[in-house]
């Protein structure tokens, strides 16, 4: 067990989950207090000792299935070995007899409806025997085998039959209808993940856990590319944004001017004085109050940036619910203020929709024009930027070979407290083609590559106000 534990810990670290030495030792000790006859006990033990961030659990669970799914697993697994009927790749060639598939599907349907997990496991194992066509040593991923099995079991058909069985035909309302659908989907998912688990454990028996885990590794949500994120990824990332916004707001709240102290703290002064026999030697001051930071966000929302813009908008929206003053401007080849679309109590998705249909972001052809947009900002909204504002620009600086208008960004920067630029493109592509990133460099206190949540986190962690506004006016 200790051997597989250290392999497992190495795999977690490989995925990017930070596991310290102490935690690995804690896990080893905790295992001694764990009843290993059920895999889920071990899962709970390792989850509690090794993984301290809820976002990491999907990746943890996937790796756990690979490493411990087989060893502790199903009664079928052990039966098979005991019967000695050929190990993980027993039985059928994968061609599969046509008639058997209906019988198995019927039985699976019954097992799902009855909530009989053991029966489900046995049936799925049989289905994998018949339809997966697994061959030892073949460099085929589990997904391919799973696909073959699921195609034969026909999950669409199963869904329909489950809906019928659960009474979808007799629902009286939309809500009830949804509820029935949700239950049916959950059952289909149960079967699907059972198939995946069964195949995984056979692959592990063939090639070893470490190798299978390496081909399966799913990126942590913080390493997902925000530019191409899927819907579920988007939802998961969005949950992580509020804490980040809070951190950013705190980091950038302005400390009072250097040397200025807060009000006298009478209680602490007297307490301290008692160490000197009651003589008030050292007046104690309260920490100076921090002032609310103000943000101005300029967001490229053109086609290529659409998904990414969603995150920066949401970051802005989350910051504004942290009681900071935020004004948001969106641009494509023209710029418009969109702050009001994101007020408190507004649904975020709808706000995005109404913003794109109502706001005035396109002046001519709808291709990004940074120069024009910065000029709009300067000419129409210069007042929004004051010596208290932190300006955040997000975009790829791909200007379609138009005039960069960097003098306008310089002027905006000059009025501001600090200006940061977040660019989702990898650094090596900056200034290639129509990207004019470095033309804006002198206006920026920092330009960061931000295409993942982890990079956004790093930006937030490092974001600091410049000691003083350096003069940037270009002659």
């Amino acid at each position: 067990m200790i051997d597989s534990l250290s392999g497992f810990v190495a795999e977690l670290r490989e995925i990017g989950i930070p596991v310290s030495m102490v935690e690995a030792i804690d896990a080893a000790i905790a295992i001694e207090h764990t009843d290993l006859s059920k895999a889920d006990n071990l899962r709970a033990t390792l989850g509690a000792t090794l993984v301290k961030n809820s976002r990491h659990y999907p990746a943890f669970d996937a790796a756990f299935d690979v490493f411990f799914g087989l060893r502790l697993a199903s009664p079928t697994g052990t039966d098979r070995e005991r019967d000695g009927d050929g190990g993980p790749f027993a039985a059928g060639s994968g061609g599969g007899a046509g008639s058997g598939s209906d019988e198995i599907s019927d039985a699976i349907l019954r097992a799902l409806l009855a909530g009989d997990h053991d029966a489900l496991r046995r049936l799925v194992a049989a289905a994998v025997d018949m339809y997966a066509g697994m061959q030892p040593g073949r460099p085929v991923g589990g997904r391919y085998y799973a696909y073959r099995v699921l195609r034969r079991l026909d999950s669409d058909q199963l869904m329909v039959r489950l809906l019928v069985a659960l009474g979808a035909a007799h629902t009286e309302s939309e809500l009830e209808d949804r509820t029935v659908h949700a239950s049916a989907e959950e059952l289909v998912d149960q079967m699907r993940s059972e198939v995946e688990r069964e195949i995984t454990s056979r692959l592990v028996a063939d090639r070893g856990a470490a190798q299978v885990a390496a081909t399966r590794r799913m990126p942590l949500i913080e390493d997902t590319n925000l530019v191409h994120a899927t819907r579920t990824e988007i939802e998961e990332v969005e949950r992580a944004i509020a804490p980040l916004a809070r951190k950013l707001a705190t980091r950038l709240s302005q400390q009072r001017r250097h040397g200025e102290k807060g009000r006298l703290d009478v209680r602490r002064t007297i307490r301290r004085s008692l160490s000197h026999g009651g003589v008030l030697l050292e007046p104690q001051f309260k920490k100076p109050r921090k002032s609310k930071p103000e943000f101005v966000v300029l967001c490229d929302v053109s086609g290529s940036m659409a998904t990414f813009a969603r995150f920066t908008m949401q970051l802005a929206y989350a910051i504004s619910s942290e009681l900071s003053k935020v004004r948001v401007f969106a641009f494509i080849d023209g710029l418009d203020e969109v702050t009001e679309y994101f007020g408190p109590g507004v649904d975020f998705a709808e706000a995005l929709m109404s913003m794109s249909s109502e706001a005035d972001l396109v002046r001519s052809d709808g291709h990004s024009d940074y120069g024009r947009s910065f000029r709009d900002m300067w000419e129409n909204y210069a007042d929004a930027v004051t010596s208290k504002s932190t300006v955040i620009v997000t975009g790829d600086a791909r200007n379609n070979y138009r005039d960069p208008g960097s003098e306008y960004l310089d002027r905006i920067a000059e009025r501001s407290r600090a200006l940061f630029w977040l660019n989702p493109e990898p650094r090596r592509f900056w200034d290639t083609g129509d990207s004019v990133m470095s033309r804006y460099a002198q206006a920026c206190d920092a330009i960061d590559q931000v295409r993942t949540l982890r990079q956004l986190e790093r930006f937030v962690e490092r974001a600091a106000l410049p000691a003083a506004r350096r003069s940037r006016l270009v002659s």
């Binding site: 310290s20 905790a30 207090h33 033990t45 309302s173 307490r271 109590g345």
Partner: protein, 290 residues
């Protein structure tokens, strides 16, 4: 450490006997916390029973609950201990003229010490459950105050030395995940993510909390709430709101959940008008304001 627990099932039944329904994972983590004398860090959305877990552990073990409620600005003086300077001043005045050396040892002694929850838990003669509630509300620097306590169940008062817990407390920290807690804090804890309960567990919670709730209605309520939680909401209904909703339905003498009932009472479940509108739209409900 509580001696009677030899399996996680013991923990689950002990908790159930005081009305808290733990799933296998919660039971396993609570069991480990007790066996290894390690704090539990329970994280998850609001109202899923994190605080209730600590209360139930106290009730189930017959231990006293010591609670430190965290808030922004919480400091050492409110979390650990504070010298009673009023009393110290009085003593100084009454002893005017005495040598400082003599008085110093005197006014920094036990009788001038005001104990706050952390020190109270450490010094308690009977075993306690220490609940450090909503730890994500304190600034990250303040977390450092907790580390000594969580690590070794000790508190150091410079003038008095280090005090070690006489009996090992069961410690539960809760967090709503509004910010990342420090690695240092997390390393010292067993991590327990508490999500919204499954339909079955929520139904069971309802039945155990509201004995006169018919099983069938409980089931319908749990299913409906679970469907509502699937929507992208600003604030999804918590378990306590599910319980409130069930109580409301009972008080209104309602025996079955249908669209009309849901639209009339959905404000018990959803607190934001945007969320109510969203649910109304998704489920084609006819809400008063929607």
């Amino acid at each position: 450490m509580t001696g009677e627990w030899t399996t996680p099932q013991d923990v689950a039944s002990a908790l159930e006997s005081v009305g808290y329904l733990a799933d296998a994972r919660i039971a396993q983590v609570a069991f480990l916390a007790n066996a290894l004398s390690k704090p539990i860090l329970a994280e998850g959305p609001a109202g899923v029973g994190k605080t209730a877990l600590a209360l139930a552990l106290a009730e189930a073990t017959g231990r006293r609950l010591v609670r430190l409620q965290c808030y922004e600005g919480l400091d050492e003086a409110k979390a650990l201990y504070e010298w009673d300077y009023h009393k110290q001043l009085l003593r100084l005045q009454s002893e005017e003229g005495a040598a400082w050396d003599e008085i110093e040892g005197d006014i920094f002694s036990e009788s001038f010490l005001l104990t706050r929850p952390l020190l109270e838990a450490i010094r308690s003669k009977e075993p306690v459950v220490l609940l450090i509630d909503e730890v994500d509300r304190v600034e990250v620097e303040t977390e450092a105050l907790l580390l000594e306590v969580l690590d070794t169940y000790q508190v150091t008062v410079p003038e008095l030395g280090t005090m070690t817990a006489v009996t090992t407390p069961i410690v539960v920290l809760t967090s709503n995940n509004t910010r990342e807690l420090s690695e240092a804090l997390k390393r010292r804890c067993l991590y327990l993510y508490v999500p919204y309960p499954s339909i079955e567990r929520e139904r069971a919670i309802l039945v155990s909390r509201i004995p006169d709730l018919p099983e069938k209605l409980a089931d319908k309520i749990a299913r409906t709430v679970s469907a509502i939680r699937q929507l992208p909401l600003r604030k999804a209904p918590s378990v306590s709101e599910t319980i409130d909703w069930a109580r409301t339905l009972i008080a209104l003498g309602i025996e079955d959940v249908n669209d009309e009932v849901t639209s009339d009472t959905i404000n018990v479940l959803l607190k934001y008008q945007v969320d109510i509108d969203r649910a109304a739209k998704e489920f084609s409900l006819d809400t008063p304001d929607g």
